[in-house]
């Protein structure tokens, strides 16, 4: 992963060879413990270091956008699955009664039709990619519960990753501020000593 380069390339004694990452392999940024030591160990001028830091922030932000999109996708998908699941659960509760189910369903936008459904033991589930499969109610219920679980887990991971990314960005922003301020102060002292 190209994002790792920043952290490993930093010429700092405390930089370990093994890169720390979160459970999904997102690299952790390095915190600058002592600015002066950090800069003096680096042969590059301060501007280059700052540029590198900013680049790292940009990379994390890019990842953040990706994860936010994933979050949005999952947040749409999860209610859809649970809605389908409620219908299947309703059908399950009705499967032993002879009483037909009366429904009003949407044919098209603003167009609804009535239908009477005889109690059923199977449903067709739309699996995507133009495929629909017939399942028994029990199987359909299990499948949907499973899917719901998987997606909820995925959402949990995405939220965790987003938190982690935010932490890295915050750390890096503080790094930038400190290196920058250190540089401003250094220049000021240089100026005063040279004018004296």
């Amino acid at each position: 992963m190209s994002e790792t380069r920043q952290a490993t390339d930093k010429p700092n004694s405390s930089a370990e060879a093994v890169l720390e990452t979160n459970p999904r392999g997102i690299p952790k940024v390095q915190f600058v413990e002592n600015v002066e030591e950090f800069i003096s160990k680096s042969s590059a001028p301060v501007e280059v270091t700052l540029g590198k830091f900013q680049e790292t922030v940009a990379k994390y932000k890019f990842m953040e956008i990706n994860f936010l999109n994933r979050k949005k996708g999952l947040e749409l998908k999860i209610p859809e699955i649970s809605k389908t699941l409620t219908v299947v659960e309703y059908l399950v509760s009705k499967q032993d009664s002879d009483e037909p189910i009366e429904t009003t369903f949407e044919l098209n936008d603003t167009l609804w039709a009535n239908a009477t459904i005889k109690s059923t033991k199977t449903v067709n589930l739309w699996l995507g990619a133009n495929v629909m499969l017939e399942y028994t109610l029990q199987e359909a219920k299990e499948l949907l519960e499973n899917k719901l679980d998987t997606n909820q887990n995925a959402l949990k991971n995405v939220l965790e990753d987003l938190e982690f990314l935010r932490e890295q960005v915050t750390t890096m922003e503080v790094n930038i501020a400190r290196v920058y301020n250190w540089d401003v102060k250094r220049r000021r002292t240089l100026k005063t000593t040279s004018t004296v």
Binding site: E33, V87, Y90, N181
Partner: protein, 130 residues
Amino acid sequence: MRMLNQDEEADVEVTWEDQQKINSFSKLNAKYSDFELNYESKKQEKEYLDDLTEELELADEDDRIKYKIGEAFISISVEQAQQRIEKDKEILIQELEQIQNEMNSINEQMSQLKVHLYGKFGKAINLEKE
């Protein structure tokens, strides 16, 4: 939310421990806003269900109601509808309580962090919501 610390005047060294505290604060802050949104939408939903309960009080017991399950309306008896609403409401109340608890705990953690961070960095750090 700005978390940049302006060392220039306050000249305090930031340690790794401080950094972690800053990170936690920023994390909790974001989490709190998420919870807030979630809480509001759930509360709204519960209010709708409350209204519905009231409406159904007036309904004739022998009436059939078209109740939306999934994407379709299914004709069910008033009693069944009331049962469904009660069940949904119970779940919502539980969820609301849980969110409220989490928000309280986040608030507490944030005030603790605030005390520490303001104590150390003073005006050099800004932890208030914009």
